[in-house]
């Protein structure tokens, strides 16, 4: 294993560039964009889970002073292209407004455009929609049955994707195993729920033919998809990526929002804006998360060594699908977690119901899968009466086994799992935590310790697209950076997408500063618009440290090489006899023989007569980075290299359940984390803390509950509960660094860190707390109500 390299700027504490504007209230979010003559949109949403739309009367609304347009699905659908799902289901068509049938409660039916949002809302109350409710389906397992009401009859079934993968000798391993265990776990429908709702403004310039769009967006191929849906050439839609996005963690995909607003801007000839209110965001924003039932069987020996796994995952994607079915695809790349499981059968089923659609959520399906795997590890330990940490140690892939090929075709790049687990236990330290647990138990609390060890695949490729849709032949998921040095010697770097809190300006300036040996705080980083931009796939899949960082390094290295050529040419020495320091280049043998940064820049910009033959004047370079290990299609049996890099995290939690109120308290939280070389340690730690808090919400608090009638019962922050500073405990992070051999600096991804292991670890602690009274719980979120039921069940069984 290679030792981490030494760096000048990488890995050091540095104030994030972005913070300075945020702390003085000078961020520029989509809702802050001021456009002259701006009109505002309000929405009329379906109150029914499933209903025919019989008639819509818009006359009274349209007659109201200040109202500019009232739009229905009939007009919009006739003039735009449907947004299609990421899997091969062309009959599952989705438009911003329902036409003919509304398929979930909260689905948009009519849009009103008026001089102010208040007027638009007034007018919305005057729209009369006549509905005829038809049979609906909200239970995902019932939706699988042949006689279930169909959400999209044209699709012929509620199943939008189903495939059984067999990787390795599953039947033989199960037949040979002395022990088998089967279990079911339930991951509830929660989401990332950013504090900023989705906002989009659009303005169409008839003279230039360009539609300008400002949106709180985090979505691959967003400008291309928007132009396609609006039936516009790609070069007529300009998405401005220089807006700050107020949190996303996957969900800020608002394509339907942008299609609607773009269409209205073109229709009215005025700038138009739509900002979701909180209920619109929760109910009709189409940003709920995975909602999964896992049925898992494990085959193992008496020592707890697991040889094989069968996993069936049913994911309820709601009434329409974009990329959501693919969230069952990404976990294929880490389907055995960090363990040496030799064979896997994986059945992935995406099913549609009359609920709000699902969108990409932090980890793209990996956190639920990790929870399912980790629950099994604990169950095997309990079954064999083995220590849960010891059981993990017996199954973890060893540090000398990398690169390690898992049954589903992905090779893990590097890792040292046992060491990172050990570091977390030592930091706790475990013996101390056991004492605290015992003290809590002595006070009558149900107290337990939880563990999880899991992976964060990173470097975001899109190999699940061809895996889940053979018509899709995507094999690249590039990212890019352009850097220029101006005549006044300053460096400016351009990136291709927006940022939603990942501090990309800090990332790029640190990397460029490192390569060019220039002070990072002097380097400006800009977000291009989509017509000026470089090929990018946006900050998804824990990829930007690897992909944007790698592209920035690539472009900076090209510039550095050019500066070396200029110096060699002008100093009359071969490059091998020159040394580059702080941007100045001097002869190794004679430091007086040198060209300063300023002199080199001036030659490039002004003195073509001093330029080496073949070099263009000026100093501007771009670099497009292909995902390391990318470029291949899946094998016919569905084996594929999913993501290139694999970060690892180990979690240790001490939690208690009050037996009277069933309130959960997390007393201690330690996370061992290895994401290779950290470019910006403060940023990595921040994401990890935040991911753990987000996972705590998923484990204990957050759920989009629907009634049997298909009504969302958690549409506000009074009933969809987010963790506050009182629920999230102080967290200790212990770093470890196993560099990736595949990346520029040895970095791996960390944008989904914490979240991928904390729900599993917290669930582990709760079950450890419940075990002494014979209770257990296998569904999230573990709310006081759910825990009370678990305790009552156990009491009934024992009585």
């Amino acid at each position: 294993m290679t030792e981490p390299r030494k760096f000048r700027y990488i890995g050091r504490h540095r104030r994030a560039v972005e913070h300075r504007r945020f702390v003085v209230g000078k961020g520029r979010y989509a809702a802050d964009i001021q456009l002259q003559g701006l009109l505002h949109v309000a929405i009329v949403a379906s109150p029914h889970a499933h209903a025919k739309i019989i008639s819509i009367d818009t006359a009274a609304a349209l007659a109201m002073p200040g109202v500019h347009a009232v739009l229905t699905g009939e007009e919009l659908n006739a003039n735009t292209e449907a947004m299609l799902p990421g899997v091969d289901a062309p009959q599952v068509k989705r438009y911003p407004l329902a036409h003919g049938v509304a398929r979930y409660s909260g689905e948009w039916v009519v849009a009103i455009v008026a001089e102010s949002r208040a007027l638009a809302e007034d007018a919305a109350e005057l729209v009369e929609v006549e509905y005829e409710p038809i049979p609906h389906i909200v239970d995902p397992e019932a939706a699988l049955l042949a006689d279930a009401p169909m959400v999209h009859p044209a699709n012929g079934s509620n199943i939008i994707f189903r495939r059984v993968f067999d990787w390795g000798e599953v039947d033989a391993h199960f037949a040979a195993a002395p022990h088998k265990l089967s279990y079911r776990v339930r991951w509830a429908r929660s989401s990332t729920v950013p504090i900023e709702t989705f906002a989009v403004s659009a303005w169409s310039n008839d003279a230039t033919g360009i539609l300008d769009v400002w949106a709180s967006i985090q979505m691959p191929k967003f400008p291309d998809q928007l132009a396609r849906a609006l039936r516009m050439p790609g070069n007529a839609v300009r998405v401005h990526f220089d807006v700050d996005v107020g949190g996303s963690y996957g969900v800020k995909r608002g394509l339907k929002h942008a299609v609607l607003v773009g269409y209205l801007a073109r229709k009215t000839g005025r700038p138009v804006r739509f900002i979701e209110d909180r209920l619109e965001n929760m109910r009709g924003g189409d940003m709920q998360g995975p909602d999964r039932i896992f049925d898992v069987s494990l085959a193992f020996d008496g020592q707890g060594v697991i040889s094989s796994m069968r996993m069936r995952a049913v994911d309820d994607v709601g009434a329409y699908a974009g990329r959501s079915p693919l969230q069952l695809g990404k976990p294929v790349g880490a389907i055995v977690g960090p363990y040496r499981i030799a064979s896997v059968q994986y059945e992935a089923i995406s099913v549609m119901t009359n609920k709000t659609p699902q969108e990409a959520v932090r980890g793209f399906g990996q956190a639920p899968t990790n929870y399912a795997i980790e629950s099994g590890i604990d169950k095997v330990a309990r079954y064999l009466k083995l220590d849960r940490v010891e059981l993990r140690r017996r199954n973890l892939i060893g540090k000398d086994e990398f690169p390690y090929l898992i049954p589903s075709g992905t090779t893990y790049d590097s890792g040292d799992y046992a060491t990172v687990l050990g570091k977390a236990l030592d930091a706790a330290p475990l013996a101390e935590i056991e004492k605290q647990r015992d003290a809590l138990r002595a006070r009558g609390q149900l107290a337990g310790i939880g563990f999880s060890t899991c992976l964060e695949p990173s470097g975001g490729n899109s190999a699940f697209e061809p895996l889940f849709n053979p018509k899709n032949q995507t094999t690249t998921w590039m990212d890019s950076c352009l850097i220029r040095i101006d005549l006044n010697e300053s460096i400016t770097a351009l990136m291709g997408t927006s940022t939603s809190g990942q501090a990309h300006e800090t990332l790029v300036s640190t990397v460029v500063g490192e390569v060019l040996d220039r002070e990072p705080d002097s380097i400006r980083v800009l977000h291009a618009d989509s017509l000026n931009a470089l090929p990018s796939n946006s900050p998804v899949g824990s990829r930007m440290a690897i992909m944007l960082g790698g592209a920035a390094a690539g472009a900076a290295k090209k510039l550095r090489a050019k500066l070396m050529r200029i110096a060699a040419h002008n100093l009359g020495l071969p490059e091998s006899e020159l040394v580059y320091q702080d941007g100045n280049i001097a002869a190794k043998a004679d430091s007086a023989k040198r060209l300063s940064w300023g002199q080199l820049v001036e030659i490039a910009h002004r003195k073509i007569h001093q330029m080496p033959k073949g070099d263009e004047p000026g100093l501007q370079e771009k670099f497009v980075l292909e995902v390391p290990t990318g470029g291949k299609l899946p094998t016919p049996d569905g084996r594929v290299q999913m993501y290139p890099c694999h970060s690892f995290e180990s979690h240790l939690v001490l939690a208690s359940v009050d037996p009277q109120t069933c309130k959960v308290t997390v007393h201690r939280y330690v996370c061992g984390h290895d994401c290779g070389v950290m470019i910006s340690p403060d940023v990595v730690h921040g994401m990890t803390y935040g991911g753990i808090a987000h996972g705590l919400g998923a484990a204990l608090m957050e759920k989009f509950t629907f009634s049997d009638d298909g009504q969302l019962l958690a549409g506000t922050f009074m009933d969809y509960l987010l963790p506050s500073s009182k629920e999230v405990p102080a967290i200790t992070i212990v770093d470890h660094c196993t560099p990736s051999p595949l990346t520029e600096f040895g970095q791996k991804g960390s944008g989904e860190a914490g979240y991928l292991g904390s729900p599993a670890a917290i669930a582990s602690a709760i079950n450890d707390a419940l075990a002494p009274v014979g209770a257990s719980i296998d569904a999230l979120p573990m709310t006081p109500y759910a825990l009370w039921h678990a305790l009552a069940r156990a009491e009934k069984n024992s009585g």
């Binding site: 102010s116 990942q502 506050s724």
Partner: protein, 164 residues
């Protein structure tokens, strides 16, 4: 255009009295953002839970989404734009937020800063429990609160004592 008559108000915002005619139903946050263009104050839930819209009203932190602009008539409002001691400088809390990476997307940050300023005004050296209590009405989805707590400790502890 409006069916409702406008009402005259005068609110002292960040030290300057601002006079305007508003619809009675205009919320304070909409007035700050849409009329005064003080877009640093953000809207998160519009039902008083998330705290993103927090401002100081005569020194106390309040939800500007849950009150009308007319209710602030004659009162003094401080928004995030008014927290710095002067242009080009940062308050100790603002500076500590930068130093300790107490934000990511920055969306909840103005409300958090308001809550922390209100805390420090009444308790210059809060312990961790007091800090967590003070920010418990402000939701953040990025940070898990840890680096916010660290920032307030830094600004109010011995190492941050030299700040404004």
């Amino acid at each position: 255009m409006s069916k409702t008559p406008l009402t005259s108000i005068a609110i002292k915002v960040n030290g300057v009295t601002r006079e305007a005619q508003v619809e009675p139903r205009t919320t304070l946050v909409d007035f700050l953002r849409d009329t005064l263009f003080l877009t640093g104050t953000h809207i998160g839930c519009e039902h008083g839970v998330c705290g993103a819209c927090s401002v100081l009203l005569d020194g106390d932190p309040v939800r500007s989404c849950c009150m009308f602009a007319v209710q602030a008539d004659g009162l003094s409002v401080t928004t995030v734009e008014g927290l710095a001691p002067e242009r080009g400088r940062l308050s100790a809390i603002q500076d500590a937020f930068c130093e300790k990476h107490a934000m990511q997307c920055g969306y909840c940050t103005p409300g958090m800063l308001i809550a922390c300023h209100a805390l420090v005004a009444r308790d210059p050296h809060p312990d961790e429990a007091a800090i967590r209590e003070a920010i418990s009405g402000n939701l953040c989805r990025c940070t898990g609160y840890q680096q916010i707590v660290d920032a307030v400790k830094y600004a109010t502890g011995p190492e941050g004592g030299a700040h404004d």
